[in-house]
Structure formats: C-alpha cells, structure tokens
Amino acid sequence: MNPLRHDFIQTCRSSSPYSSFTVLTEDSSDILPPTSDAAHNTTHNTFNVQKLRYLDIGCGGGIFAESAARLPTTSSVLAIDPSPGVLAIARSHAKKDPSLSPKLTYLSSTIESLPTLKPEAVQKKFDVVSCFEVIEHVDHPALFLDHVAQFVKPGGWLVMSTIARTWTSWFTTNFMAEDVLGIVPKGTHDWHKYINEYELRGYFEETEEKRRFWGRPRAMGVVYVPGLGWKEVPGSEKVGNYFLGVQRLAGEDA
C-alpha cells in the first residue's frame, strides 16, 4: 500500500485545530485536542486518547481498511465495496491477522445504499471517510460526493485520491499499464472520467453553501518512483496521482 495515505490523513488532521473536535462532535467528552503532526510528540494523545472511526468507500481487497484498523488510534473501520468477489478476498485476508476482527467490518454496499443497510452509520458518522482510487470510476462524481458528505462527522475529514486527466496520466495508466505492460485489465480506467485537481477542488468551493459546509481542500501530489515507492512531489497533483482532503465544518447535513 502507499504509506503516504496515512501521512496525508495525519497532515490533514493536524492542519486544523478542530480536527479531533472538542466542540462539534456529540461524543467529545473523551476526546482531547490534537497537538502537532509528528507521531513522536503527539503520541500520548494520538495513541491513548483519540480513537477514530473510519469509513472506507470502495475498499477493494481491504489494503487500506486493514492498515487503518491496525492503527492504535483507530476505534473502528467500516469498509464497503459493491463487489462481493473482492470482499471475499478481503475477508479471507483479514483472517490472517487476529488484531483486525474486533475493529474491522466489511459490508457489501454502495454509498447510496449504505443509509438503508446501516442507518446508524448516518447517525454516528465518521472521523475519516476515505475513498482511494474510486472517484475516477464513478459516473456522476458530484452526486457521489453529495452522498458521501452525510457520513463525515463535523470536524472530520473526507480524504480521496485519484488521477488528473493529463497526457501523462493517459500515457501511464491507459497506454502503459493497460495496453503495453498489461498490469491492470484492459478497460479498468476510462481516461475521460479522470478528474483534475482544480475540478475536484471546485466541487467543494463552487457555492457559498459548499464553502460553509467544507473547509479549504488540501492537495498533495504523489509520484511512484520505481525502486523507491511513492514519493510526495509538490505540484504533481496537476499532472498525475494526487490526494485531496477536505474537512467538514457544518454541523447540519446539507
């Protein structure tokens, strides 16, 4: 997995004094305000006090969901995916680590059907809602994000990763990955559905109402360097893979 996912979430959460919400959450009594970012000095708070609830949308084989569940700061992870096939793989993999079962729940569901399947998920909401490499496969991204919003706790973060629609991304993810190298099945990516960073950012900033509901989005461009793994490259969010994180401010659902 790309370990920068957790670094990015950590950066987002520590960027805002409200990140772990002393005021706006309903069960704030057991939560202390966060301190600065590094794991070292926040340890006491991070590892002993704040326990976060995660919702992972489009969890696939559970790579991120498992890692989130392993974090000592996590109280629970609900991981959903509409495909029963990948969930079976995710479940059998989770069996190999006994620390996961108390925290990690897989559910075969889309975001649209989640309120029906798990009404309490809308009520309790989540500190971190993640959808990694999902939005580029979605037909109506704006509608999708409208649905997602209701699961983010006020003060909580929606964290996404996706790919910008550029010649570079067409070359690497469509031409190289699918046609030449064949490391992903043909037709996995529809380049036309890729969303540029300014477009995604635009969704959260387009109206006055949205700007009251969401904080300022934060982006981080990342590049996969063969032999070294994923590296943050400032500015690369305009070219290829990037993270975007946005904090929910409003207490009332839109």
Binding site: H6, F47, P98, S101
Partner: protein, 490 residues
C-alpha cells in the same frame, strides 16, 4: 551444543511435513486446542542485540503498546545483579562506537551502565608486525569531530547487558521467559475465523507456546530462529582463536588517565590488540592459531605475561620461536628484549600481571546470513552476521541492526502495516545488509592481507599504511568512519 542445534535445525527443514502433521493434529484435536498466546514481538535471545531491541521498542511511545516477549536460556537475574570488585574486570569486553553509545543513550540505557567501568579511548596505534609500518590514529588539531575526541568506549559486555536489563525493568511491560530453552518453532493453526498458519509459534521448555506476529532471532551465531526461517548463513572459519585476558599494566598508559590509547599489532598469525580499561587495567584480544592459543592458555601467569609483552615488542621470528617453547618464556623474553631495539613509548606499557581465570579463547569465523528477514521473522546481531574481531565492530553492527529494525517497526506501526510482513521489514534489510556486508568484507580482507609474512603484498601494505598515516585528511576520514561519526559512505 552444536549437535543439539543441528538436530533441531533438521526438524525445521521439512516445513511442509510439519504443516501436514499439524493439519492432521488439528483435525483430531481442533476443539481442545488452547487459545493461542499472541505477541507482537517475540525476541529469542537476551544478549546485547535482543535486549537493546526490546528496550528501544519499550522506550518509544509509538511502539510501547506492542505486546512483547523475551525468551532467554540464561538466568537473567544473575546478569542484572552482576557485580565485580572495582579492580577486577571481566575478560569479555567490546568496543562501543560513539554512534552505538548515542543510540543506547537515546533509549535510556546508557546511564544504567556502571560508568566507572566504561573507558573511552582517544588514540589508536596500529602497526605491521613484519615491517613496522605504522599508523597513529591521533586527532590532528582541528580534525576531531565536534562531539569529542573519543574514538570508542571499551566496556565489559556484562556491564552492557546488566545496564539494559535495569533499563528494561524500569520500563516494564516485557513478558520475560528466562531460563527457558526454545524446544521447537512451528507454525500456528488455521481455524474457521482465524488463520495463523504463517505465524511462528515458539515452544519453550515447560510447555509454554508463544505465537509471534514478528519473531526476532537475536539468538547468536547458531540461531535456531534463522534455521526455522530456512535462511542460510555463508562464510568461513579463520582457523584462528581469539585469546582474551584481563591484564594489569605498570601504569595508566602513556597518555595518562585522560588520553587512553588502543594498540594493535598485525602479526602473521593474526592481530594482537590491547585495549585500555579504567586505571591500570587493559583487555587483550589476541587472534592466533589454535595451537598457539592452547599454549597461551596453559602457561603460568608470568610466562603468559612475558608472551603478551613479547607480542608487542619482539620480532615475529623471536615470537614464533617462543611459541615452540614448552616453558620459561619469561626468561627467554628478558634475554631477547635486551637485543631488540624499539621505542617503548610506541608500544603499550609493560604488562605486569594477568587476572586469575581470565585467559580464555574462542574460535573466529566469518558468517553472513543470506537475508535478515522472512515472513514474520527478522534476524539481528550475531544471528545475522559474525565478524572477525580485529576492528571491534561486532557488537556495534548488532546495535546498528537494532536501531534500524526499531525504526522499521515504528514506521510500520504509524502506517498501519503488519510489523511482521516482509513488505514492512524490507526497509530494515535494505538499510543494513550492504553496510554490514562491506564491513564484513573489509575486515576479512584486512585479516588476509596481514596474514602474509613475505611476498609482494608485504611492502605494498606497508606503503599503504605509511601513506595513509602521512595524509592527514584521509586519516581523519578513517578515524571518523571508525568512530561512526563521519559521513555515512556505506
């Protein structure tokens, strides 16, 4: 001991058979199986490497929530309460580089060492026994690293392990199984809702079983953990023994109490080193042939002392002759010394005595494991590599391993990775393997280079040594590398 280990190792070889057998057992007794006792880290071996690792994990708030266990065959309470009179020293000493000392300080262990028994040294005198080519590692004015002029610290191994145990006791939270032998290592079971078939289970004497997310082999050169993981270790025996002894000197050394000097002379049979301990004590490490070693161990104290003094002063021919004498080396030495010109300030002060029962020897070898990691397994210290002691790097390599592995585990914890998975452990092996391999190779070649008594290598090596000695910046580079304070080149 070796036979036992080999027999056990054989039991690990056919893992598929073991699994098959377990599967049968499971079928029959699956309902009666006790709940597995699962630890995040099970460390086999309570030597300096294993104890430092556990201390580092416990001292770091990021990793202190991990459930950790230590399995050690020895009785650790004896090690913890280890104490010798102030003028008596153990014969098993190691040099700790400033880098190792800093790490031990960071994990809060350094202050638990008895500081009155730790001796920093500031200079090294190294010379060729055949040609007398010499290199003096003393800091030229202005070339010393900022943190001080200490090249390394001499310290008794027991002072280190005892200090680490005290620090661990202060930190708490380690399940210690001492006086416990590892009887077997198998894999866990697979049940309906839990699959531990890739998790190592350590069976210790008394019937206890510990299931490990990460099994750490800090269990020495004949590591049962390494055998379990099916990791081979390659290398060779040097056909040399390291003779150690605690020596009493005529004084505190030529530099006095504040500038202590380490001496090493390369003899054709191997290097002989004398390293300063507090006061007028020094520790000897003499690599020599097994025959010479057994003679040295047999000699009465006065003749042993004569041999040590001879080793730093007489010609290699004289010295070789004295090894053929059955007795009376003392007289022989006094006579030959009168006919040997040497600069007494360039060799260690005269040895006047040897502490009783401290003359011992151990075989020297070079080993390097093919890798340090497997699925849910990591090797540190001697389980991963064994080095010739001529550069005093063995223990420091182990501390370097531990520092790296602890950092790797910390990264895995903060990123939600399984600390036992190969993927999480990869950065440990990539950080340490090449660095250790280069050091093992350099030390091995040094040993071989100085084993030659004649031939083209002899003038060349002397030329090289003299040249390095004359070139100030190069010498200071080597010194900083030795002290672990220079730019990391490996």
């Amino acid at each position: 001991m070796e036979a036992v280990v080999r027999r056990k190792a054989a039991a690990y070889v056919c893992r598929s058979c073991t699994r098959q057998f377990q599967r049968q057992l499971r079928r029959n007794y699956s309902n009666s199986a006790p709940r597995p006792d699962i630890y995040d880290v099970v460390c086999v071996g309570g030597g300096p490497a294993g104890l430092s690792l556990l201390t580092a994990l416990r001292a770091n708030p990021v990793t202190s929530h991990l459930r950790v266990a230590l399995v050690e065959a020895q009785d650790l309470s004896k090690v913890k309460s280890w104490k010798l009179p102030p003028n008596k020293y153990s014969n098993r000493c190691s040099s700790l580089t400033p880098t190792s000392a800093l790490f031990l300080d960071q994990i809060g262990a350094w202050e638990h060492l008895d500081q009155t028994r730790v001796q920093p040294y500031h200079e090294m005198q190294v010379w060729d026994g055949v040609t007398d080519a010499r290199i003096e590692f003393d800091w030229a004015p202005g070339s010393a690293p900022v943190e001080g002029t200490t090249i390394a610290y001499m310290n008794e191994n027991l002072n280190l392990t005892s200090g680490l145990l005290k620090r661990l006791e202060q930190l708490g939270g380690v399940s210690v199984f001492e006086g416990a032998k590892v009887e077997n290592i198998t894999f866990g079971e697979e049940t309906e809702d839990l699959d531990l078939s890739q998790w190592p289970v350590v069976h210790i004497s008394g019937g206890k079983q510990l299931t490990a997310r990460l099994l750490v082999g800090a269990d020495g050169a004949n590591s049962p953990v390494r055998a379990f993981a099916g990791i081979d270790a390659k290398g060779w025996d040097y056909d040399r023994h390291g003779v150690v002894a605690t020596l009493e000197m005529e004084g505190e050394g030529w530099g006095g109490e504040h500038t202590k000097i380490a001496y090493q002379r390369f003899l054709p049979t191997g290097p002989v080193a004398m390293l300063p301990m507090p006061g007028n004590i020094a520790t000897l490490v003499w690599s020599t042939t097994p025959e010479n070693a057994s003679l040295l161990k047999r000699l009465p104290p006065k003749d042993f002392v004569a041999m040590v003094n001879a080793a730093f002063r007489l010609s290699t021919v004289d010295l070789a002759f004295m090894h053929t004498q059955g007795a009376d080396q003392d007289d022989e030495y006094s006579w030959r010394l009168q006919h040997t010109p040497f600069n007494s300030r360039a060799v260690p002060q005269t040895v006047v005595g040897v502490q009783e029962g401290t003359v011992a020897s151990f075989p020297l070898k070079m080993r390097h494991a093919d890798t340090y990691i497997g699925e849910r397994v990591a090797l540190v210290g001697d389980a991963a590599h064994t080095i010739h002691p001529l550069a005093g790097q063995g223990l420091n390599q182990g501390q370097g391993d531990v520092q790296s592995l602890a950092k790797t585990i910390e990264f895995a914890v903060t990123h939600g990775q399984d600390i036992g998975s190969i993927m999480s452990l990869e950065s440990y092996v990539s950080e340490r393997y090449t660095a250790n391999h280069v050091l093992l190779g350099v030390v091995d070649k040094l040993h071989k280079l100085y084993s030659a008594e004649s031939g083209p290598l002899v003038p060349l090596r002397s030329l090289g040594l003299n040249a390095v000695n004359a070139l100030g910046p190069l010498k200071s580079f080597f010194m900083k590398q030795a002290a672990g304070s220079g730019t990391k080149i490996f």
